[in-house]
Symmetry: C2
Subunit: 417 residues, 2 copies
């Protein structure tokens, strides 16, 4: 059943998050359904960045580490993220990239696991996990050697059964970056724990898209991304979570001075700070962290249940509107229709997916493409309306009806897809 | 022999780099001698950052990875730095923090060394090296285990003799962060190579302060900092150098997707890019990299021999002017007087060093303090004049004569010193 435009406008009219759209600078002529790749610029960010550059750096210079609290910025930003992912403020820190943070928590998890049972040496991962997660695991396993770690990749469906008595840690991204399928975080965590292993959640496509309850699930470790649903800007600092119970026994192998118990005593021997601060490494970019900090202010008064409700309404609307296009133009839905199993993204396979997406982008509707044949559409509840969804599907229908995607220029491959 | 103000003004009047000062936004009422900790804001940075935030991110959004070349920014910034350190453009990349980059090149060096001679397993370092370097080495050695790596710390003077047939890699910072003493980069590199080991240079206090000639010296690996003499802003991205001859055999253990041969094919198996790009890890901050990129434009027309000449003239002037204060107020010079052995920084020990520096900062002359008793003064040739040096010493003399440093508020310890 496909909703009509009047119905969708009525949904927008009573959307409790509607006013949030005004807190973002959305370019004219663009319908942006790629917030799962790079979030839109929050209106308060440019001002904050300018203040940090001109005043804090430019005027106050080195003194700002104290007077503007730069030294505590990773923890302050971490605390803002903690609320969004069901963690306590002292369990999350903003630092480095997701890849680097994953290396830290994976090494920490292996250390904790080996302390319990040295026979457990398998890092179990979904073969469809976001590649950088797999690459980092391979890099770490290669470094420590097969006697201590081995990466085992299985299909998404086979993960649960593959947790055996040689599994040290399971590494999963809660929402699959291609299909938008969402794992049951609580159930999977319990299952992995019952089988004696630890779990690392990658929340790249979760944080800021819907509420996550890490502590409610008893999760061990997590990482996530600052530039997708958190809107922190291109390559924004990432975050990591270490459950408080693990912190005293889970050292950071990327032991840089910012994680030292007393960095300004300049001792020659590393002693990690107690608590979450130990997972910092080098000096963080204050510009990048400040942009993320300002972006996170947008979430301060957001009810996360409303966020999830709106996200589901948007993705459900999109799936409903796309129904006729699937039959007519050969799109195949690869995202679960069951609300519980869906993140805030919907993907379709199409044999000419790349060209279709290029034509759609040229028409002002921005999604993205993932090899080999997926069109991805992300729905950011804070700045996307039901009418946007309507407009996107209408545009796609026109492009397909007119065969516009067959224009040769849409077949040219970009460096980044 | 202490120069008088007229002589110093004459030096400034014929300084070929004098016009560079106008390319920086130096706060009023401040004499800034802490560019070795955080460089001053280059005038072109705020505009560039605003453009990146409002136009590239805000308007063009995800498309900027292609249209604004974000994907190549780490290599472009690396190429700018390469000229300053005597490397080729394809041997340097900007990425992550110095600490994280050191982890990468140290792991790579151990790998290369083990391939030549597995008996070599010692990471030899100066016990006075900047702590984060030592901490990172300890973290890596702890992770791979003592059969493969052991950190051995010796005093600066003992380094050369300590390179033995169990040494895998020597890790040195070219300019000591406390004393400002400069190692002979070429001679030490040759010495270490003659004894069969590899060398990693930390150029944190070198890059942008004076010309470095890594390739002329036949160096193996290097890392360095973007926020000191390169003026890239607080916590700016760092850089790393891998000599071209090592690149095919020196894998990056922090193997994230940005270092993959084909990151957008999303394969599950890591295959490193050929060349310097393989040493990238996660998605870099485009805001932070762009600020550093704009800051490096200032160096484009700078003659590095002139940079060194001016640096030596400034530090020599400071040492000469400080002569009478040493006798009068108990300062003790810890920086070599021999030009060849001095970086662009001069340090003095004083029993009340912390309080004296706080009083000096309160009077508008900004240096910094390093435990236990060192006052550090950095001289950035691009924006520091000989008259600044004169003013700094006059102010310090007044503070000491008036005993101002004894004010109780200057004894209060800041979080960052």
């Amino acid at each position: 059943m496909t909703p009509d435009l009047a119905t969708l406008r009525a949904l927008d009219a009573r959307d409790p998050l509607a006013s949030k759209r005004g807190e973002f600078l959305i370019p004219g002529g663009v319908t942006y359904l790629d917030g799962n790749s790079l979030g839109v610029l929050p209106a308060r960010v440019p001002e904050r960045v300018e203040k940090v550059v001109r005043e804090e750096w430019g005027q106050d210079l080195i003194r700002s580490w104290n007077t503007h609290g730069w030294i505590n910025l990773p923890a302050r930003v971490g605390a803002r993220i903690a609320r969004l992912i069901g963690a306590d403020a002292d369990e999350v820190v903003a630092a480095d990239s997701t890849s680097v943070n994953l290396f830290k928590v994976l090494a920490a998890a292996i250390h904790v696991s080996a302390g319990r049972d040295p026979k457990r040496r398998v890092i179990l991962a979904d073969e469809g996990n976001f590649p950088t997660d797999l690459y980092i695991a391979q890099g770490l396993a290669g470094l420590v050697g097969e006697a201590r770690a081995e990466v085992r990749l299985v299909s998404t469906d086979a993960i649960a059964d593959a947790v055996t008595d040689d599994t040290a840690v399971v590494m999963l991204t809660q929402v699959d970056y291609r299909t938008g399928e969402r794992h049951h975080l609580r159930e999977m965590t319990r299952h992995v724990h019952e089988r004696g292993a630890l779990i690392i959640w990658d929340l790249a496509h979760s944080a800021g898209a819907f509420p996550v309850d890490l502590n409610g699930a008893g999760a061990d470790f997590a990482v996530g991304c600052g530039y997708k649903y958190l809107n922190g800007g291109p390559g924004a600092p990432a975050f990591l979570y270490v459950a408080r119970r693990h912190q005293p026994h889970a050292p950071n192998v990327l032991s840089g001075w910012m994680g030292h118990a007393s960095p300004f005593e300049f001792t020659s021997r590393y002693t990690g700070a107690s608590g979450i601060r130990q997972y910092q490494t080098g000096t963080p970019s204050i510009l990048a962290l400040s942009a993320l900090d300002a972006a996170l202010e947008v979430f301060e008064d957001v009810d996360l249940a409303q966020l999830r409700d709106k996200s589901l309404s948007l993705t459900r609307t999109f799936i409903d509107l796309m129904g006729p296009l699937c039959a007519r133009h050969g799109f195949r839905l690869v995202t679960p229709e069951d609300d519980e199993r869906r993140g805030s993204q919907v993907s379709y396979a199409h044999p000419h997916g790349y060209e279709v997406m290029q034509a759609l982008i040229a028409a002002g509707v921005i999604g993205d493409f993932r090899a080999p044949d997926l069109l991805r559409f992300g729905f950011t509840p804070l700045y996307t309306s039901h009418e946007d969804v309507w407009h996107a599907v209408q545009t796609l229908d026109i492009i397909m009806r007119e065969g516009r995607w067959q224009d040769a220029r849409y077949a040219e491959r970009n460096a980044v897809t």
